[in-house]
């Protein structure tokens, strides 16, 4: 019984490894952690995550926990939240934070990049309508500054406003006074993050490289690609 159990688990793990890209060892570790967090249950609830003491000081605690229960991060094209997640879902969310494998094609890389950024975008876009509105942005900045006490609360709005202005001006350019910028769409977000995610997630470099490769003088292009 025990042997067949472990064989089943192994088979499951292999399956998960194929889908999420984690190695078997990583999945084993994450499974251990999952069991620890869920107190050996099959599913993980919000309370389980909220009970992690290390998260207490994180200003983004609520947003991070929400991300684990957001349907958009679990399955595609579905809004709303779930109450509990299983190990597979847990892995799905976690896989967004996996570094890209060494040898994958540019398309795959680009796809991965978009997925990661989509995850980030979803964290800001709380009402899942496809745009980060000023209100949502303000809330995000407020949350970011929530550990700063009263000073933070006052300035958060101004910061969010300035940031929103910046996005609007870089993505739209000139705007008439009666025009209305409804919020950051995912495309804007990609555009805006072209030069920002670089340091933190190191995704952008490849993109630029890809763009640069196209304009490289041809003799060199042949040299470099061979």
């Amino acid at each position: 019984m025990g042997a067949s159990q472990s064989a089943r688990t192994e088979h499951e793990f292999q399956d998960l490894a194929d889908r999420t890209g984690f190695s078997l060892e990583q999945i084993g570790n994450l499974n251990k952690r999952f069991r620890q967090l869920s107190k050996n249950e099959e599913t993980l609830s919000r309370q389980d995550l909220a009970s992690i003491s290390a998260l207490d000081n994180n200003p983004l605690r609520a947003q991070i926990i929400n991300a684990f229960f957001d349907k958009r991060n679990l399955r595609q094209n579905e809004a709303g939240t779930v109450q509990v997640i299983g190990f597979e879902e847990f892995l799905m969310v976690m896989s967004h934070f996996r570094p890209a494998a060494m040898h994958i094609t540019e398309e795959e890389r680009e796809k991965l990049r978009r997925e990661k950024l989509r995850f980030l975008f979803n964290m800001h876009d709380t009402d899942s309508d496809g745009t980060i509105t000023l209100e949502e942005y303000r809330r995000a900045v407020e949350e970011l500054l929530s550990k700063a006490g009263t000073i933070g609360q006052e300035t958060a709005k101004a910061i969010a406003d300035a940031a929103m202005l910046e996005v609007a001006s870089t993505t739209r350019g000139k705007m008439e006074p009666d025009e209305f910028y409804e919020g950051i769409t995912f495309e804007n977000f990609l555009q805006k993050l072209q030069n920002e995610s670089e340091r933190a997630t190191n995704l952008e470099r490849r993109e630029t490289e890809r763009r640069k490769r196209r304009i490289r003088p041809w003799p060199l292009a042949i040299l470099m690609d061979s």
Binding site: I64, K147, A158, A162, L165, E166, M175, A200
Partner: protein
């Protein structure tokens, strides 16, 4: 055409003049140096000193010296020696500065050849001139002068402005290159050189293994000065820059230890395994000790700057003196002075910046840049001079083998190490990156100075070493330094983005930091984000409290960044001609009203519309025009307030307050503009407009700002108390004018008109509260009339 010719000839004339001046100075230098080395001057010095002594006694009382013979009082005397040393130093500095100036006057030249190469050439010329004059070339690059005076400013500049974040993110790679890479280079070059020296027919068989290794350790270290000089011109991306530059800074400890180790044993002979262990321990002590010394001085500097709020003038001095003391203290124990300086600068900067005034910060920045650029220039010139001066022992085999081995070992080292490092890095170093890192390994004056320090008796081949070192330096600086720029372009290596740090970037960086920390916590894996977070919290909780004065330590990074950004914009605004446009986060045509979620205008407002008749508008205009005189006074006082020193630095807070108020204001204006549609305003007669323009030159800016015909809101920043009623008027007059230049000019004029239109204090305070500015530290601003209440908007013009 003739004009152009004239222009050309003029610029030639200028260049000619400049050259002449430089020549004169060169001549002066030569002469002074000649004077320095001639013995009769020193004799004169003795007598001069004696005279001086006599003078003193004479002052004390001439009756003590009965044999004092009275001479005619010398009306004019020449005592060059008295001022010789400082005068010559000044001449050198002047020469360096003029050179720097000269290169930027000839853009064609400086775009092809890096400055460092040109400076070396100048040094060669100067050295040649000195030699031609038949004088002894002074030992300009001797180690004391170099290590104690020329090097520290450059390193401090680098350390103080070290981009901490990329540096820490790549610290593993940098350390790998700096420690393992340098060790590899030293032993590879040293060992193979020894092997080559043993070959028959090279006449080098007297060179032993240890001197070879010593030479290898001197020649293998990448030089920060050379790297900075070249990399600053090619604008490479941040990652590559920090990799090469970080390596050049951190390999100092390795070089110091290897140098002392080999110098010690080449006298004593045998090296035992025990010595190797001692060497490793020594390395740890030298590097960690240097960092510790630097950090201690850095914390001291930060702590001192906490109390300088009443003596702002000497604030910058603390930064310099503490850093220099850190360097000297580290050098005293033969620790790594470079690492001490880097640590000192990096540790003190965040706290010092929070404490010192903005002006002091600018001073620190400028002084560091000035000193480091003069030092750099002098170093390269001296390198040229020293080349001419030194005795040379040219050995083709040794020199060419050195150059080739340096290149080969660098390439092998970088490629090999990258192969290992890439297994641990998230961003892999590509082939191109590796190429630039390998190619950017320039050698420089540190190697020369270390070679110069060698004892002639212990190392009979010192001259040959020096020649080889100079050749290697020249090779790297000239060949690699000159070709790296075209290569970077050719390979399409990513360049540095010139864009300034945006607020979004800061938000997302922080967001990602917290997110990744959170995910690490959920995983239960304590990676570097976890520890970074811990460190940050510790810093916030305890260290900042101790080291930062006042309430500012509570300020989170994001807010601090935002304020800094705002402040910078304010300064740019003031410098660009004073308070015309709203200082939005970006110089754009998008204003707050575009991103605000639309709210329905209040129904009462609809009824307010017909009350704005044309007659009343005229009346309003008259009132406003009568305030013109006061406006000008107000403008002047504003300028004085901001541009001239104010001891309490409240310009900052003032500005933040203003900015927030303006945002509030704009919201209201936007609300009102929804229902305010007023028939076109009759423009003034052209003559009148011109007259007004003449009387108020600031109006020019307004014209420029509004000439593109985009109906944006323009709030006059110059008036600390600009009531929103003004903006409303401005808005409708602009709409009325429908792009007519005159009308706009008039509207803009009017915008400035209401300078000191005082309001009842009660109203002002109400507006203040509404503006959302409840900062208790800004009580004085409460006396200013703030934006008025919305329900009073119908009659804001009737006092």
């Amino acid at each position: 055409m003739s004009v152009r010719v004239a222009l050309h000839s003029r610029s030639f004339l200028e260049r000619g003049l400049l050259l002449l001046v430089i020549l004169i100075f060169l001549e002066g230098t030569v002469l002074t140096l000649g004077a320095a080395s001639s013995p009769d001057i020193s004799a004169q010095d003795n007598t001069g000193g004696h005279d001086h002594l006599d003078d003193h006694r004479g002052i004390a009382g001439s009756h003590v010296h009965p044999n004092y013979t009275k001479k005619a009082f010398p009306v004019l005397s020449l005592d060059y020696h008295h001022i010789q040393v400082p005068f010559e130093i000044s001449l050198w500095v002047l020469l360096a500065s003029l050179m720097k100036l000269g290169f930027h006057l000839i853009p064609q030249l400086s775009s092809i050849v890096p400055e460092s190469c040109l400076l070396i050439v100048v040094g060669l010329l100067v050295g040649g001139l000195i030699k031609l004059a038949g004088e002894e070339v002074p030992p300009v690059l001797d180690s004391n002068l170099f290590f104690l005076c020329l090097l520290p400013p450059i390193i401090l500049d680098a350390g103080y402005f070290l981009p901490i974040r990329p540096f820490m993110e790549n610290i593993g790679t940098i350390l790998m290159f700096a420690v393992v890479g340098t060790l590899w280079n030293a032993f590879f070059v040293g060992g193979l050189l020894y092997a080559v020296c043993q070959i028959e027919g090279t006449y080098l068989s007297q060179v032993e293994l240890l001197p070879c290794l010593l030479f290898g350790s001197i020649i293998s270290a990448v030089d920060p000065v050379a790297v900075l000089a070249v990399f600053e011109e090619i604008h490479i991306n941040e990652l590559l820059h920090i990799l090469v530059f970080g390596e050049s800074l951190l390999n100092d400890a390795v070089t110091v230890v290897l140098y002392h180790l080999f110098e010690e044993y080449s006298g004593a002979g045998e090296v035992t395994p025990m010595d190797v262990v001692l060497g490793v321990i020594c390395f740890l002590i030298v590097s960690l000790g240097g960092i510790a010394v630097g950090a201690i001085y850095g914390i001291l500097a930060a702590f001192t700057s906490r109390f300088t709020s009443h003596t702002r003038v000497i604030e910058p001095l603390f930064v310099f003196v503490y850093s220099y003391m850190a360097y000297l203290s580290a050098e005293m124990f033969h620790l790594s002075g470079i690492m001490a300086l880097i640590a000192c600068g990096a540790v003190m900067r965040p706290y010092v910046e929070a404490n010192i005034s903005h002006k002091s910060h600018t001073t620190v920045k400028y002084f560091l840049k000035m000193w480091s650029s003069v030092s750099e220039t002098l170093i390269f010139i001296f390198l040229g001079v020293a080349t001419v001066a030194g005795p040379h022992a040219w050995n083709w085999t040794f020199v060419s083998v050195t150059v080739i081995l340096c290149l080969v070992s660098r390439v092998i080292g970088v490629v090999g190490l990258t192969f290992i490092i890439n297994k641990f890095r998230i961003v892999k170093l590509t082939t191109k990156d590796q190429f630039i890192v390998a190619y950017g390994g320039l050698r420089g004056a540190i190697a020369f100075s270390l070679g110069y320090l060698l004892d002639k008796n212990l190392f009979p081949m010192r001259t040959m070493f020096l020649t080889a070192i100079i050749t290697e330096i020249f090779f790297t600086v000239f060949v690699q330094g000159m070709t790296i720029k075209p290569l970077v372009d050719l390979l399409a290596v990513k360049k540095k983005q010139e864009a300034k740090r945006s607020i979004n970037e800061e938000i997302h960086t922080q967001f990602l930091d917290h997110l990744l920390t959170g995910i690490e916590d959920i995983c239960g894996h304590y990676g570097h984000h976890h520890w970074k977070d811990k460190l940050n919290r510790f810093n916030k909780k305890y260290i900042k409290k101790c080291l930062i004065a006042g309430e500012r330590y509570k300020e989170p990074q994001l807010i601090a960044f935002y304020h800094k950004m705002e402040f910078k914009q304010a300064i740019e605004l003031v410098e660009s001609g004073g308070g015309v446009k709203l200082p939005s986060a970006v110089p754009s045509q998008v204003s707050m009203q575009n991103i605000q979620p639309k709210k329905l205008p209040p129904p009462v407002a609809e009824r307010a519309l017909p009350q704005f008749t044309k007659g009343r508008e005229e009346e309003i205009r008259k009132i406003l025009r009568s305030n013109l005189q006061k406006t000008r006074q107000r403008l002047r006082s504003y300028n004085r307030h901001t541009l001239v020193a104010d001891p309490f630095e409240d310009g900052w807070n003032d500005f933040i307050l203003k900015k927030q108020r303006l945002i509030e204001l704009e919201k209201k204006v936007r609300l009102m503009s929804n229902y305010l549609t007023v028939p076109g305003a009759t423009p003034d007669s052209p003559t009148m407009c011109r007259a007004r323009l003449a009387s108020d030159p600031n109006a020019f800016y307004n014209i420029k700002a509004s000439s593109d015909g985009v109906p944006t809101i323009q709030v006059d920043l110059a008036s600390p108390q600009s009531p929103d009623s003004v903006n409303m008027l401005n808005e409708f007059s602009k709409r009325g004018a429908t792009g007519q230049g005159l009308g706009q000019r008039e509207g803009a004029d009017r915008d400035e008109d209401q300078g000191l239109m005082m309001k009842p204090a009660g109203k002002g305070e109400k507006g203040e509260e509404e503006g959302g500015n409840k900062n208790p530290g800004l009580m004085r601003c409460l006396s200013d009339p703030g934006p008025s209440n919305e329900d009073e908007e119908d009659e804001p013009f009737l006092p």
